[in-house]
Amino acid sequence: MSPAETGPPQYVITAENLTKRYGDVVAVDGISFSVPAGEAFGLLGPNGAGKSTTMKMIGGVSQRTSGSLSIMGLDPDQNGPEVRAHLGVVPQQDNLDEELKVRDNLLVYGRYFGLPMSYLKPKADELLEFAQLTDKAKSKVDALSGGMKRRLTIARSLINEPRILLLDEPTTGLDPQARHILWDRLFRLKEQGVTLILTTHYMDEAEQLCDRLIVVDKGRIMAEGSPASLIREYSTREVLELRFGSERNATIGAELKGIGERLETLPDRVLIYAHDGEAALEEVSARGLRPVTSLVRRSSLEDVFLRLTGRSLVE
């Protein structure tokens, strides 16, 4: 169900000035956001930005220092079990029980929600099929590949039919094929109306999966919007990437002045932000400059992040 069909959006998560401190370290620094039911909402940012800490607070396993947080109208600090009963959680690190078989991992997890075996046994089979793990049902978990373990963790998180699914870096460490299989499964859940809350430091993942996202850095929200609107707002349509060799990249800036709308010099390449990348490249050539390599591409969230923080997302 899309928010448009239900009139004003029904927020399943609302955070206001959410703050978490560990001693003197401020992990999350007064962030505010709301997530309507059925949305795929992303937290994009580099490692250490405060994404996982925010997820833990939403998941009711880490107490906030200040601010307010409401999940399905409940305060996770006061009603931890009630909040967690609404959620499915895919943690950053797999914590499956490797001493149990694949299917048994789903059964024991379902029991934590007080679900009866008469429901759990067929449900486990259904979820194994969803996760494409039916033929591994009786295998031990340690026999699974990384991608299979992630899919099993997602299957496990769905055992209680949650309406909100928290996914903390769901595809980190997976090969491209495994990532695509996983994205496909997440798309299906989104189609079923499950609210997805996702952290990632992969901009392609954020672009693929998220309806809306917040860009987080050093515990603060740098920008908020849909991937397309963020790119429109903070970047140009195209980017020209030039490599002049590591020694010249830093000094070539002056000679490129005036080409495109903005210039960004990185250690390994120079980025020219322009509406028309090819035209910008022609002008570079017209000025007699000969880059070692050149590439024209569409702007991505990586460029948004670079613009907002002056740093690359994956360093």
Binding site: V108, Y112, G114
Partner: protein
Amino acid sequence: MSRAETTATTALRAHSPEVSAARARRWGSLYFAEHVLRVMKSYGWTIIMYGVGQPVAYLFAMGVGLASLVDTSSTPIFGGVSYLVFIAPALLVSAAVMTAASELTFPIMDGFKWRRVFYGPHASPLTPEQIALGQIIAVTVRFLLQSAIYFAVVALFGASPSGWGWVSILVATLAGLAFGLPLMAYAASIKQDKGQFAMVMRFIVMPLFLFSGTFFPLDTLPLAVRWIGWISPIWHGTELGRVFSYGYPEAPLLTIAHVVFLLALTVLGWGLTKRQFIRRMAG
């Protein structure tokens, strides 16, 4: 989505989150105990073989082999009973304590650090306190099962003349908890494995095993080392076991003191464990 999947989806409905939360609040520790027992089932044969093999080996070696020399002594240092009858309750209690030293150390470290299995239920409606209690309940089931097997072997050896001998199953379980829970709290506090558990086995479990009146009465030891027995759950459990197993003559106040000591350690250990689990998981 396949047709089978669609059919299953329409037929199956999980109960509401409110029901999940209410059930978890009430029964959560049992749910986690069920998980741990399922894991134990995967090495169930080891538990049973350990449960049967160890008493048979010890009772035969000590109670029959060594006893053939000891029982020829004319001094009645074992309170007038055979050496086999004397050591059987001690071995029963020691076995439970040894099990505590394995079940409440590495699996706890595993839950927090290695395979992080405690963090799975932590994301569900269960609380850290319930996860700790579930682990304890499951280990208690193992204590009871193992001690029952041990007692059956003891009875077969004819080494429990009193009709109250079966109470030593409960005594061994209590001693296992009294020793195991403070150790569990310690295990839950360890962030880096630097061989601490090997040190615990060498410098705590073994000395307690040897100097807790297990193989000879504590009062045959010099006073300088007798204190080891007084602070040892093995000694308190062993003395208590002897009272039930063959009517070992002891001042009733002392018997009560054994129970109080074991209960106090169990309660203290639970308090510390609970605190560590909450602290470690609250993050």
